[in-house]
């Protein structure tokens, strides 16, 4: 019975969670040489990709409104074997591979009825084990039952005790911290696991609020999908240096592993606020940090597309250089794995009532190869009209191949892919449920189910 709770709704007997690492393993701020060695290992690993030794395969980890799927690419990335569903019927916000072992997956899941949890697989999805303590806020004493009906989100929630509604975003920890994972939640919350995802603890410095103000303050209100903490980004040079995106709330930075946070939103528009010059309260849709140049950040925001080069603190609206008729509003932003000047966005219609569909019904990806100074349209193979695609913030990804493979999933359940860095696109799969997320990863072919 106790064992049964550890299995996914659909899978075979599960393995025990990995043992809790020692404090030395998880200690923050380890010697720089450890970090460099880990980075070198990762670089070596990512150099054996598609077509290399034939030992690595691209997989797409697809989270949907009704379950998760794993798509396994052939060596040319033209055909994909479809494996799944996992967690059929569950809302799966994110499925992420651990780049530190290339075998472990974490998946966040809930249903319309049941509370949010996290599953872990150490065998690329053959079996899943449920977290024994999923992300949850501290219990607030003496919550008057009369207030409880208001639910976890909305005004006054902090005073009544917040409850995690979804683990929206999952990020593997720093390379020097093998069993560490991070999760961003709805409503705003940041959690960390030290044991590979079995148990999760709240980051008080964030969850009590990142800017010294209450979560009820103006600027932290919720999107229609709730107040989303996303884009949990870790500086590969320093495990203590992180960024977190809040939709709505803005981008925040910590340099001490999450104890203290400061807003980092200068230069970003916030047209929807009465005072658009506020230090926080912005709406980053998706933020990305370049792995080879961690001083470079890109941001797809409710109010435009931006780039920031640290140590600078003022974002530049590179979306101004996109065609006026397209605009620079979108949800995902995807970076080239090796070239910090190259990024892709999926523009959407952010006018009038915000249809959030491809402008004019003509889907296209836009690419910059000069850090946002110029953009080119990439729509080869995509519908030339009546294509009303919506692509959510986690639903576009790049693999590490050369040329880079790109993938996006739509809310109408289609997955499109490009094996030539966006020049031409082909449909990979249709008829899935609403796609919430796609992650591309490289795994050992021999380890695949």
């Amino acid at each position: 019975m106790a064992a049964s709770r550890r299995k996914s709704p659909a899978k075979k007997p599960a393995k025990k969670p990995a043992p809790v690492p020692s404090s030395a393993q998880r200690g923050l701020g380890r010697a720089a040489k450890v970090v460099r060695a880990a980075a070198a290992r990762a670089a070596r690993a990512s150099s054996t990709l598609v077509g290399g030794e034939g030992t690595q395969r691209v997989v797409l980890l697809v989270g949907t409104r009704k379950g998760a799927w794993i798509l396994v690419a052939d060596p040319e990335r033209r055909r994909f074997r479809v494996e799944g569903p996992h967690f059929l019927g569950c809302i799966v916000n994110h499925v992420v591979l651990d780049p530190r072992d290339r075998r472990t997956l974490l998946a966040s899941a809930k249903t319309g009825h049941l509370g949010p949890t996290i599953y872990r697989s150490t065998d690329l999805g053959r079996t899943w084990t449920e977290a024994t303590r999923p992300p949850a806020f501290p219990k607030v004493a003496d919550v008057p039952p009369a207030d409880a009906a208001d639910g976890p989100a909305g005004g006054g929630a902090a005073a009544k005790g917040r409850a995690v509604d979804a683990s929206f975003w999952i990020t593997p920890g720093h390379l020097s911290q093998p069993e560490v994972w991070w999760a961003g939640t709805v409503p705003h919350g940041l959690f960390r696991s030290h044991d590979g995802g079995a148990t999760w603890d709240g980051i008080d410095g964030f969850n009590r609020n990142p800017a010294g103000v209450s979560w009820d303050a103006p600027g932290f209100f919720a999107t229609p999908d709730g107040a989303i903490t996303h884009s949990v980004l870790i500086d590969p040079r320093d495990a203590d240096h992180m960024y977190v995106g809040l939709s709505i709330g803005g981008l925040f930075e910590t340099r001490d592993g999450g104890v203290h946070w400061t807003p980092l939103n200068r230069g970003v528009a916030a047209d929807f606020l009465p005072d658009p010059t506020v230090p926080y309260g912005h709406d980053p849709h998706c933020v990305a940090l370049h792995p080879k140049n961690p001083d470079r950040l890109y941001q797809a925001n409710h109010c435009g597309t931006y780039r920031l080069d640290r140590p600078g603190d003022t974002w530049e609206r590179i979306g101004r250089n996109m065609p006026k008729e397209i605009g620079d509003i979108g949800f995902p932003i995807v970076l080239h794995p090796r070239d910090p000047d190259t990024a892709w966005v999926f523009p959407m219609d952010g006018t009038t009532v915000w249809p959030r569909t491809s402008p004019g019904g003509r889907p296209a990806v836009y690419r910059t190869r000069d850090a946002g100074s110029t953009w080119e349209r990439q729509d080869g193979g995509l519908p030339k009209g009546q294509g009303w695609f919506t692509v959510k913030r986690q639903a576009m990804a790049a693999d590490a191949g050369d040329p880079v493979g790109l993938y996006f999933g739509t809310t109408s359940g289609e997955i499109w892919g490009s094996a030539d860095e966006g020049r031409t696109w082909r449909p990979i799969l249709a008829h899935l449920p609403q796609i919430l997320s796609i992650a591309a990863a490289e795994v050992p072919a021999a380890a695949l189910p």
Binding site: M1, G112, H113, T132, A136, P145
Partner: protein, 94 residues
């Protein structure tokens, strides 16, 4: 206060939660309040409670729990000897 010699009570488990009960639709649990019943359930079927009760001890929005046919408002609901507990996953859209 919560558990003295009350029960066991029959507890009906809805299908979304039967992955925790090895597929069983009906189990037994003891306790004089709904909180105690749920603690007993958790002891037998680890993880089941959090899927229906949030970390502030609120019954999740689309979960209904009936005690002797009456909807329980919160976990303080009393469960008298012989009462049945029915957990219902309410309809929650598409």
């Amino acid at each position: 206060m919560t558990g003295e010699a009350a029960g066991p009570h029959r507890v009906h488990i809805p299908s979304p939660l039967r992955s925790y009960t090895a597929g069983r639709a009906e189990v037994e649990a003891s306790g004089g309040t709904l909180a105690a019943i749920l603690a007993d359930l958790e002891a037998a079927f680890a993880g089941i409670r959090f899927r229906m009760i949030d970390e502030q001890d609120r019954i999740r929005p689309h979960i209904l729990i009936f005690v002797a046919g009456r909807p329980a408002r919160d976990l303080r609901a009393r469960v008298e000897p012989g009462d049945e507990v029915q957990i219902v996953a309410a309809l929650s859209g598409g």
